[in-house]
C-alpha cells in the first residue's frame, strides 16, 4: 500500500531544509563526512551517523563527538543528506528509492570497516537494519546505545547536576525500550540527578515524529504531571521528541533537554541549542528577525528559510 503524501512535502524542501538549517545552526567544531569513494576511507571503529532531520539539532551529535573525543575513541562522523537512510523516500511513497538509499549508505559505511554504526534517529536504525547487506558486518544501533558501553570510563568525569528528571521515552518495541533504559542508565550515573517516576511520559510509536506527533492532549498531560510531581526537567532520547516538546517551555516551568545535554552539563562540555532559542522566541517572525544577519551573510533566500523554520522549528 502506498503512503499518502501530504501535498506540500517534497524532496527539495526536505533536503534543503536539512542543509540550510544545519548550516545555520551548526556548532563550531562539528564537521562530517558525506561520502567516501572506494580507497578514500580511513578505518574507524565507530560511525556516528547524523540522520537527515537531526541536522536541525546538531548539538546532539556534537556532544556525542566531544564525549567520544574525551574518551579517546576511534570514530568518524557521517552526515548530510548524502547519508540519508531512505526513510524520507519511504515517507514519500518511493519504497524502491528507500531501499536504494539504504544500500548506498550501508556500502559507504562499509568502506570505513566499523564495528558499530549509531544513528541519532531511530528511523535510521530501523531502516539500516531492514536493508542490512550480506557484507554489512557491523552492529547497527541507536546513539543511545553507544555511551552506556563506556559508562565506567565516564563516571570519573561526571560533576553533579542537580535536577529532578522525568524520562520521556518510547516503548513500542524492544529496541526503543532499550533506548529508554540506556538513557536512564546514563542519567542515573550523574550525581545529583533524581529520576522522577511518572505515568504519562511514554510517547507513541517509534519516536515523536513530525508526521505522527504525540497527540496534543497527551503532551499536555505529560507536562501537567511533570509539574505536579515537581520535576524540573523532561529528558528526551531523540531529536524529534526534543523538537516537538521544547515549545512547552513557553508555558511550563519544565525544561526539555535531550539526555546528552544533561550529560554535557555534567561533563563540562559547552553547547548551544539554537533551535530551542529560535522556538522560544515564540513566533516565526521573531525567529526570522534573529536569523536576518546570517541569512544575508550566507546569501540565502529569506522566503525559503522561512518555510524551513515554519516546518522544522515551529512544530
Amino acid at each position: 500500500m502506498s503512503t499518502v503524501i501530504p501535498i506540500k512535502r517534497t524532496y527539495t524542501r526536505a533536503f534543503e531544509a536539512a542543509r540550510t538549517l544545519g548550516a545555520l545552526m551548526c556548532p563550531p567544531g562539528l564537521s562530517w563526512t558525506t561520502e567516501l569513494a572506494p580507497g578514500q576511507a580511513d578505518p574507524a571503529e565507530i560511525i556516528l551517523h547524523i540522520s537527515c532531520n537531526a541536522h536541525y539539532t546538531l548539538f546532539i551529535p556534537y556532544i556525542a563527538q566531544e564525549i567520544l573525543k574525551k574518551l579517546n575513541k576511534d570514530f568518524v562522523v557521517f552526515g548530510g543528506p548524502e547519508s540519508c537512510c531512505g526513510s524520507i523516500q519511504f515517507n514519500m511513497g518511493d519504497h524502491d528509492l528507500e531501499a536504494q538509499n539504504a544500500k548506498i549508505a550501508l556500502l559507504a559505511f562499509n568502506r570505513v570497516k566499523p564495528s558499530l554504526l549509531v544513528s541519532v534517529c531511530p528511523d535510521c536504525d530501523e531502516v539500516f537494519e531492514k536493508f542490512r547487506l550480506p557484507q554489512t558486518r557491523f552492529e547497527i544501533a541507536n546513539l543511545s546505545a553507544l555511551l552506556p558501553r563506556f559508562i565506567e570510563e565516564l563516571k570519573p568525569f561526571f560533576k553533579p547536576v542537580k535536577r529532578k528528571v522525568i524520562l520521556h521515552h518510547h516503548t513500542i518495541d524492544a529496541a526503543r525500550t532499550a533506548d529508554g533504559t540506556n538513557m536512564r542508565l546514563l542519567l542515573e550515573a550523574i550525581p545529583g540527578i533524581e529520576i522522577v517516576e511518572a505515568h504519562r511520559h511514554i510517547g507513541p510509536g517509534i519516536h515523536c515524529q513530525t508526521q505522527k506527533p504525540m497527540p496534543a492532549a497527551d503532551q499536555e498531560a505529560m507536562f501537567a504531571e511533570a509539574v505536579a510531581l515537581g520535576a524540573d526537567t523532561l529528558a528526551v532520547p531523540y531529536h524529534s521528541c526534543y523538537r516537538q516538546h521544547i515549545k512547552m517551555e513557553l508555558r511550563t516551568p519544565v525544561r526539555v533537554q535531550h539526555y546528552l545535554g544533561i550529560m554535557a552539563e555534567s561533563l563540562g562540555i559547552e553547547f548551544d541549542e539554537p533551535l530551542k532559542s529560535l522556538r522560544l522566541l515564540g513566533t516565526v517572525d521573531a525567529a526570522m528577525s534573529a536569523l536576518e544577519g546570517e541569512i544575508k551573510a550566507r546569501g540565502l533566500h529569506a522566503d525559503d528559510v522561512r518555510t524551513y523554520i515554519e516546518r522544522a522549528v515551529f512544530l
Binding site: 524532496y11 527539495t12 548524502e82 540519508c84 518511493d94 538509499n101 548506498i104
Partner: protein, 107 residues
Amino acid sequence: MSETTENPGGWKQVVLLSQLQPGMQCVQVDRRKVVIAKVGEEIFAYSNLCPHSGGPMNRGELNDAVVTCPLHGWRFDLKKEGAETHGYRPLKTYPTREESGNLLILI
C-alpha cells in the same frame, strides 16, 4: 519509454515535439536513459543518472529549470548546463535542437 531514430553527426532524434508535455519524460538513447524536460517553452536534455550516487533524475522534482535528485537532494540548474546549486558535481546535459517537428539531442 521512447525509442530513438539515429541521425549522423551524433545528433539523435528522440521524440516528436508535439508529444512533449510540461515536465519530465525519460527516453532511451542507445544505452543511455535521458530525461527530456520541458520548462515553459524551453527544452532540456540530461542524464537520468545523478552524478552523486546514480539516483533516477526522472523521479526527482523539477522546479522552474532546477531539477532535484530524489535520493539526496542534489539540485541542478538546467539553464547553467547542469551546474549543481551547492557547488557539487554537475549533471551531464546534452545540447538539443529542433528539426522538422522533432527534438534532437547531441549525445
